[in-house]
């Protein structure tokens, strides 16, 4: 008798199991292939026809769709085809993406069911293949059955896009990465859950419970941090892995790749370790290993408890938000725990013995919420004494540019060293005090803020994550920050405070404005205004961009070197619609004023592009950085380099008046 099996033999065995699974999943794969092929064809046809109609303005003509398609083939309109194919690629890729996720779940459940059936356990347990090798080959089957067909169809979509026009390479790569990571993390996690569970239904319930309960629980915790500690900046948790740490479906977002790789490896290694020791007789029992069951029971109890607790807290039940919370939490968590137990254990057995974690949960949550509710550490009312502050900073989101991938928390912390003069520090502390003074820190308001944070702040719908931020460097070297956003707390007048003392400073402008700091690619347009409704504006051509880049470069150089005219230059800043100003408004106060220079970032045109709309629609990425923002500066006569640059591109006449005959001269709508 041979005592060992060579590696080659092991691979051969694993390959046999893989091929066997392939045969047993062939029906499901055929359904996937048919659906993918049919949907791709439908989407391609519709995109070409509708796209061609739209571009040719023949939508209302008497053409039929087939005539349109025929015309397209005969005399293709390059732009129409390119745009239509772009939309096709986006929609078809997303369709394959969602279809793949659905089928990944089906394959995975099917493949790992060998652990959950006594008869299958007899079959697989007696096969001459090691338990780990069997598990690995089963996992490989699940990965490959999911990924290979998806890659095949995505490849076809890409090739079609390439044949018809310009394919969106980023979109294709993005979808590939998302599918790769999502599939890896989800299958690994489900594999681990399958090893721990005795039945397929328990595995599926547990997987769904973890995927739903964990992120919602994390949202509640973040909501409490935001709602109960006013001024906390929790934006650092946006897209952070911790918010979805146990939800492998989040890996389909294609972010936090390193985390999901580690997560997958941990799941696979744990599964391999456990599957070797797993008792085959646990098939069709509730669980083979009970730890995940306890975790899920506690998670579900926490989630339901928090839901009812925060609801009752915000409704001020018993006249006290905290008492309402405690009542709601117990009312929600205990039944949720018992019901989860009944589902997993198919009865009341071991209920009492396994309820200790529930008791611990209730005690911990009630205690932590008491600390939060009664603000034991005085966090909410904190405003530093002037004498304790070494330097301070304030950022007003209305006058703030930052790159889309920048770390806001870091910017806020660094702002603590912006102002060291007594006047500015006093102004910042005074602004901070005025915000605190107008806030309602009652218990029910705090609980209402949790909902706000959960259901508004967590949706990526373009809301500012910050309205004002304050940062202080204390005498002991410690940096203290407070970041306030619009929320149910904000009852102060018009939600605004006067920050012009800080915003209209050279220090603030140099650090936080687009005119001085923005990358050329972030600037949507530069305008030299004659009136609020007419002036010279940059255009979307290379020459125009180059021309106005020179102007901006000259302005930056002069502003940084400027020591005398800063107040003049910054005169238009502040106020509501300050960009609707006219040069004549400033002539009296500033006789040296030549023109107004407006720098715009973001664009309203972004969503008028059909490709961008679909990208935003499918990815949910309605980026705040695409919102239009304007900054207006007054150019005095002393800014000679800027004026010379404006003359060179034909925007200013030799007498410093706006050149009405310039190619850039146009009427300005409200967005200019």
């Amino acid at each position: 008798m041979t005592s060992t099996v060579s590696f080659k033999e092991k691979l051969k065995q694993a390959y046999s199991v893989f091929k066997w699974d392939l045969k047993s999943c062939s029906g499901t794969m055929a359904v996937y292939a048919i659906l993918a092929a049919v949907f791709t064809t439908i989407i391609l046809t519709l995109c070409l026809v509708v796209g061609f109609y739209a571009q040719s303005n023949t939508m209302y003509d008497t053409y039929t769709y087939s005539q349109s398609l025929y015309s397209l083939a005969e005399t293709p309109d390059t732009n129409a085809v390119a745009e239509a194919v772009k939309v096709f690629q986006i929609i078809a890729s997303q369709m394959i993406y969602f279809l793949t996720i659905i089928f990944a779940i089906i394959y995975t459940v099917k493949v790992y069911s060998y652990l959950h059936n006594k008869r299958k356990a007899d079959l697989y347990g007696s096969l001459p293949i090691s338990r780990i090798m069997l598990f690995v080959s089963k996992s490989a089957s699940a990965y490959l059955f999911t990924l290979i067909p998806a890659m095949f169809f995505l490849g076809i979509i890409f090739i079609i896009s390439m044949c018809f026009g310009q394919p969106i390479v980023n979109e294709a790569i993005d979808i590939y990465v998302k599918l790769l990571m999502g599939t890896l993390a989800s299958i690994s996690a489900y594999g681990l859950i399958s090893v721990c569970c005795g039945t397929t239904i328990n595995s599926v319930i547990m997987f769904i419970a973890v995927c739903i309960a964990y992120p919602l629980s994390a949202m509640f915790i973040k909501g409490v941090a935001n709602g109960f500690f006013c001024g906390t900046y929790t934006g650092i948790f946006k897209d952070h892995f911790i918010m979805n740490a146990l939800n492998p479906l989040a890996a389909y977002d294609g972010i936090n790749i390193i985390y999901w790789l580690i997560f997958s490896v941990v799941c696979i290694v744990s599964s391999a370790f456990l599957v070797k020791r797993r008792k085959a007789e646990r098939a069709q029992a509730s669980f083979a290993y009970y730890l995940p069951c306890h975790i899920v029971k506690v998670l579900v109890a926490f989630l339901v408890g928090m839901f009812l607790g925060v609801l009752f807290g915000s409704l001020n039940v018993f006249g006290d938000g905290y008492l309402g919370f405690v009542f709601g939490f117990i009312l929600g968590s205990v039944p949720a725990f018992v019901i989860t137990h009944l589902i997993f254990y198919k009865g009341f057995s071991k209920l009492i013995r396994t309820s200790i974690p529930l008791g611990g949960l209730v005690v911990v949550v009630v205690a932590v919420m008491a600390v939060c509710n009664y603000d034991v550490f005085g966090y909410n009312e904190f405003v530093p004494n002037f004498d304790d502050v070494q330097s301070a900073g304030l950022i007003d989101a209305e006058h703030f540019y930052r790159e889309s991938d920048s770390d806001l928390n870091k910017i806020v912390r660094n702002s603590a060293e912006d102002f060291t003069d007594k006047e500015s520090i006093n102004s910042i502390i005074s602004s901070h005090s005025s915000i605190i003074a107008d806030k309602d820190f009652s218990s029910d308001k705090k609980f209402q803020s949790v909902w706000y944070d959960m259901f508004v702040d967590n949706m990526n719908i373009g809301l500012d994550e910050m309205q004002y931020s304050f940062a202080y460097k204390m005498n002991n070297g410690r940096v203290v920050t407070r970041t306030y956003s619009l929320s149910v707390y904000d009852t102060f007048s018009d939600n605004y405070i006067d920050t012009t003392n800080i915003v209209k400073t050279k220090t603030y402008t140099e650090k936080y404005t687009a005119a001085i700091n923005a990358k050329q690619s972030d600037i949507s347009s530069v305008i030299v205004k004659k009136t609020s409704y007419a002036g010279c504006a940059s255009e979307n051509t290379d020459k125009s961009k180059e021309d106005f880049a020179k102007v901006l470069e000259a302005f930056r150089e002069e502003f940084k070197a400027d020591k005398n005219n800063t107040e003049t230059v910054l005169a238009p800043l502040g106020g509501g619609y300050y960009y609707e100003v006219d040069i004549e408004d400033f002539k009296t106060a500033y006789p040296d004023a030549v023109c107004l220079l407006q720098v715009n970032t973001g664009s309203n045109d972004y969503y008028s592009n059909v490709g961008n709309i679909f990208t935003a629609l499918f990815t949910g990425n309605y980026s705040i950085y695409d919102e239009p923002r304007q900054e207006v500066y007054l150019i005095p006569k002393s800014y000679t380099k800027t004026i010379t640059a404006l003359k060179e591109i034909g925007v200013l006449n030799s007498d410093n008046t706006i050149n009405d005959d310039s190619d850039y001269f146009k009427a300005l709508n409200q967005y200019y």
Binding site: M1, Q13, K19, D122, G125, S126, P128, K279, A280, E281
Partner: protein, 299 residues
């Protein structure tokens, strides 16, 4: 050779196999018999590596069996309810086994496919219980196992196929020195096939012996007296397993041979006395009765 050393398997509070010791030599056909829930199927699952022992060990050629693919390549286990996927055929299942079992024989596969009267391309799941077992047997025998474990294999097989199976098994044992362990309640079939019998009850081995010696050491004796002998205990000194009296007629199961008890019975001057060997079923009932598992103790 398979060795069981202090083998124990528990399911929560139930001990299915309790500290069992057994040695099975190569080329033997062993019958596992016992009451329901005695641990026969569990023992087979332990032997085939499906279950991991909670105590003790199963050694094959001196090496541990559990999760040992090299050893398991020479085993084949047909459980009482063999599993087949919905779309499995004999051919498609053979596709899996070809690369997994090192001794797979295409020649044997073709031979057994023609010997057993079933279609190799038909879906196994749609077949009758007996035909599913035949499918399992074709696949099992094609792997040319050194050790074949069969759980209630005769269940559902018609007499012709039962006969065919016994013939094939005997041929495999004699030609390839295959070891067969069969758990079954069909003692009549075991009697034809096995050379050793293991009797299990409540997870323990009550008895383990060669079938021939087992048969030899039990006698079913009928003895009748015209006048009852005037002795306090008629069977004193005889190893009686059980006795049933109807007037002056006694039906007695005796452990021993005629030489052991006939002189003593003849000395009592019976009107009639006859002795014959017990069937395996009768031995089973007798032994189980002695272990407290008989009809009288149940009803």
């Amino acid at each position: 050779m398979i060795e069981l050393k202090n083998l124990t398997k528990r399911f929560d509070k139930i001990t299915a196999v309790d500290n069992m010791n057994l040695t099975i030599s190569d080329g033997s056909v062993v019958g596992l018999v016992g009451s329901n829930g005695s641990g026969k199927s569990t023992l087979l699952r332990l032997l085939s590596g499906v279950y991991q022992p909670d105590g003790g060990e199963v050694l094959v050629g001196g090496k541990k069996l559990f999760d040992n693919p090299a050893a398991k390549g020479e085993f084949y286990f047909i459980p009482d309810f063999p599993y087949f996927y919905n779309n499995s055929t004999i051919n498609s299942t053979a596709f899996l086994y070809r690369n997994l079992y090192p001794n797979w024989s295409e020649e044997q596969f073709n031979r057994f496919c023609s010997v057993f009267p079933i279609k190799r391309d038909a879906k196994i799941i749609n077949m009758s219980k007996g035909m599913q077992r035949q499918a399992a047997l074709i696949l099992a025998l094609s792997t040319c196992p050194k050790y074949l474990f069969l759980d209630e294999i005769f269940d559902g097989l018609d007499p012709v196929v039962r006969h065919l199976l016994k013939k094939i098994l005997i041929e495999q044992v004699s030609e390839h020195n295959m070891t067969v362990i069969i758990a079954s309640h069909n003692l009549r079939e075991l009697e034809d096939l096995c050379d050793r019998i293991c009797l299990m009850h409540k997870g323990r081995m009550l008895m383990e012996r060669d079938l021939d010696s087992l048969r030899l050491c039990f006698r079913k004796v009928q003895v009748a007296f015209s006048e009852m002998p005037l002795v306090p205990n008629i069977f004193e000194g005889i190893d009686v397993v059980n006795v049933w009296q109807n007037g002056n007629v006694f039906n007695v199961t005796i452990r021993g041979t005629e030489e052991d008890f006939m002189p003593q019975l003849n000395a009592l001057n019976p009107a009639y006395v006859s002795a014959m060997p017990l069937t395996l079923e009768e031995i089973f009932i007798s032994e189980m009765g002695e272990a407290g598992y008989d009809v009288n103790s149940i009803l």
